[in-house]
Amino acid sequence: MKQSSDRLQSRCERAGLAAIHAKVMAGERLSEADGLALYRNPDLHAVGALANYVREAKHGDHTYFNVNQHINYTNVCNKLCRFCSFQRLPGQEGAYVMRPEEVAQKIREQLHEPVTEVHVVGGVYPRLPYSYYIDILQAIKRERPSIHIKAFTMVELMQIARLAKKPLAEVLPELQAAGLDSCPGGGAEVFAKRVHDEGYHVKNTGEEWLEAAKTVHQAGLRSNCTMLHGHIETIEERVDHLNRLRLLQDETGGFQTYIPLSFHNEGNEWSHLPGPTAMDELREIAVGRLMLDNIEHIKAYWIMLGIPIAQTALSFGANDVDGTVVEEKIYHEAGATTPQAVERDELIRWIRDAGRIPVERDTLYRVLWAEDEVPA
């Protein structure tokens, strides 16, 4: 563990964060009250510097990215989440479902690219049979056997288990046999019941999400975790969410990465809410880094944040930026204007410009390429 500078200490003392600073230096867990204090503190620099301390203690300057491909196999969904701009009802204009052959085609189209991961998520469309999910996993592996399939949020997994008429624990080995390698972190939203009932009452509860994640981890699959922030939730509800993620992680250790997701307000039922600002997003990264002491990586998902904030977030606790994404749909329907794919060398360039060392990883954070550590 590296030494904290006296300046960081005095800075935190002046910002009223002396006790939290002491805990961070001692590697002690922050309490929920500490989490609230971090959200409320007006000195974003001090909060950021503390998060940066933890980030550099864990990862130095290493900043991970991967080369991945997104497949959103259907936008038909019956969950009616009010923050969602992606969902369509069956038969509604723009509704689509990809046949397994179309999924295979998407994979074939990228065979010339050095893609190591495919991120597969979609809506919950009850007319799809259990076999469909098996079919698309197999179709992907048939086209590109070496690719890592990170597929299905907890929400989709619960639907798949329902279709299979079996407990999730029994379904997972079948999905794994068909090619499932790990699971993404979406669908967690905010666990609090109040927010759930107001915003996405048709969807599973927070408890069910956590239970599914636990089952996934017990099946030997790693997953990510997320929080959708910047809509109707309070900071107390955010702290509660982070705390619940942390407790499950104590139990299973299965989460690789935490990704704060920003609510975007275009084309959904919450268009009247402004969504988080850049400063809110930086703070969310920092608080996540400080509270989730047992989760290894914090991701600044650049396609959602935009390059300016993703780059700045690398000084506020984030050590991962996601990848050179091909065909992202969900955030772009909600108004994201980021380019759909950035060239690998462009991604490397802006990680460097932030004073960090770009490292290409696979989904399980094995290093595929790392730049020389000492700049010229």
Partner: protein, 418 residues
């Protein structure tokens, strides 16, 4: 035109220092020493500024810039001005390769706006509570100081709004074409009612760079001298820097030092703003290095705040950097959100469409923990929500800088009313 290859590589070969290297050892000790210096309100040297650019991590720069900002502007407020950008002509003979706005004389898209078109735009601006007309044109071979003096006088006769107009290169262009002194041209413009002068056309105040990117435009010394004479005539002006083209890092710092020296001499600058070259769609696009990334903007703007200890204000540039980064820049030393830019032709021609409403600007300022207040061209608060005394209210009250003529510096106006 082609860049000599070593200079074209200058920026691309620069590499940001590793952030973690700034947390311990000799680099940390030196950064701590400089932070202490800045916290105590002291000046840093050119070499120390270079050290910051070469070694400091972004968080340290943000802290140091915020410290300097609080010395210069202790109030928890961020100002902005309701203004309109008006470009009376796009005709220009300087042919800068980084400019997407200008047209050569005789080009089918060349224009000079009529009085009616201009009055209509001014009227709209005044109706929206506008405080300032930011008027700049190209270097038109026939639209010279008499045309501009008439325009400014006509506007002042009809509307209550400040003309924040022209730029050092345009004023120098008039003097050269009219074969008379800068002083005489400036005196006429002041007489006509010019209220303040923008800092445009500074680009990089280093001859080696200007010869490559703007060979037909005002030299460094002339740019500074026009501002000196503007200040001596009693007007305030602002200063800018366009980085991220062919300059080296020491040249960036040299630019800041030149500005600081002139400010020591005249005290006439109100504010500084920087932005990176926007090479998309400009005439010499292929010759410029790739656009610098946002972290470099934060680095440069923060270092400017630290170095320019004799400037009262730092303006962010949301037009070039986007609203998100502009908000973040408030934590890197900026205390002003700039103008509402009801019309901005020069940058939007280069592919920037970051125009935003007043409501958005105010919400972002509040969210960052500051009170948004509207100002005039001289950084006097003109907001109806503001309960203090508005000062300065006009160019005469603003002429408190040492270089201003004694006649303008009435004893009662020398210091801010309590």
């Amino acid at each position: 035109m082609a860049f000599p290859s070593p200079t074209a590589q200058a920026v691309r070969s620069w590499r940001a220092p590793l952030a973690s290297a700034a947390q311990s050892g000799a680099i940390r000790e030196e950064l701590d020493r400089l932070e202490t210096l800045v916290d105590a309100g002291q000046r840093i040297s050119q070499e120390e500024a270079l050290f910051l650019h070469a070694q400091a991590d972004l968080l340290t720069l943000g802290r140091m810039a915020t410290s300097r900002r609080l010395q210069k502007q202790p109030d928890a407020r961020i100002t902005y001005i309701v203004d309109r950008n008006l470009n009376p002509t796009n005709v220009c003979i300087t042919d800068c390769g980084f400019c997407a706005f200008y047209r050569s004389p005789g080009h089918r898209e060349a224009y000079v706006l009529s009085r009616d078109e201009i009055y209509q735009k001014v009227e709209e601006t005044v109706r929206l509570g506008g405080q300032q007309l930011l008027m700049q044109g190209g270097h038109h071979p026939a639209v010279l100081s008499d045309w501009w003096c008439e325009l400014i006088a006509d506007i002042k006769a009809r509307f209550d709004i400040n003309c924040h107009a022209l730029s050092a290169p345009e004023i120098e262009h008039f003097a050269r074409y009219e074969k008379r002194s800068i002083e005489a041209v400036v005196a006429d413009l002041v007489e006509a009612g010019l209220g303040s002068v923008p800092g445009a056309g500074a680009e990089m105040l280093v001859e080696r760079v200007r010869e490559i990117i703007a060979p037909k435009k005002t030299t460094t010394d002339d740019w500074l001298d026009v501002h000196r004479k503007v200040h001596q005539a009693g007007l305030r002006s602002s200063a800018t820097m366009m980085f991220g083209n062919v300059e080296t890092i020491p040249e960036r710092i040299e630019h800041l030092i030149r500005l600081r020296e002139l400010q020591d001499e005249t005290g006439g600058f109100t504010a500084f703003a920087s932005w990176n070259t926007q090479p998309d769609g400009v005439p010499d696009e292929a010759l410029f290095p790739r656009k610098t990334t946002p972290a470099e903007y934060l680095r440069v703007q923060a270092i400017a705040r630290i170095v320019l200890d004799n400037f009262d204000h730092m303006q962010t540039s949301y037009v070039t950097q986007g609203m998100k980064l502009a908000q973040v820049s408030l934590a890197f030393g900026c205390d002003d959100f700039g103008g509402t830019m009801l019309e901005e032709n020069v940058v939007s021609a280069a592919g920037c469409f970051h125009l935003e409403s007043i409501q958005t600007i105010e919400a972002l300022i509040r969210n960052a923990g500051y009170e948004p207040l509207q100002r005039n061209s001289w950084y006097g608060i003109v907001d109806e929500r503001f309960t203090g005394t508005t000062w300065p209210k006009n160019r005469e009250q603003a002429a408190t800088h040492p270089a201003a003529p004694a006649a303008w510096r009435q004893p009662a106006l020398k210091s801010r009313p309590q």
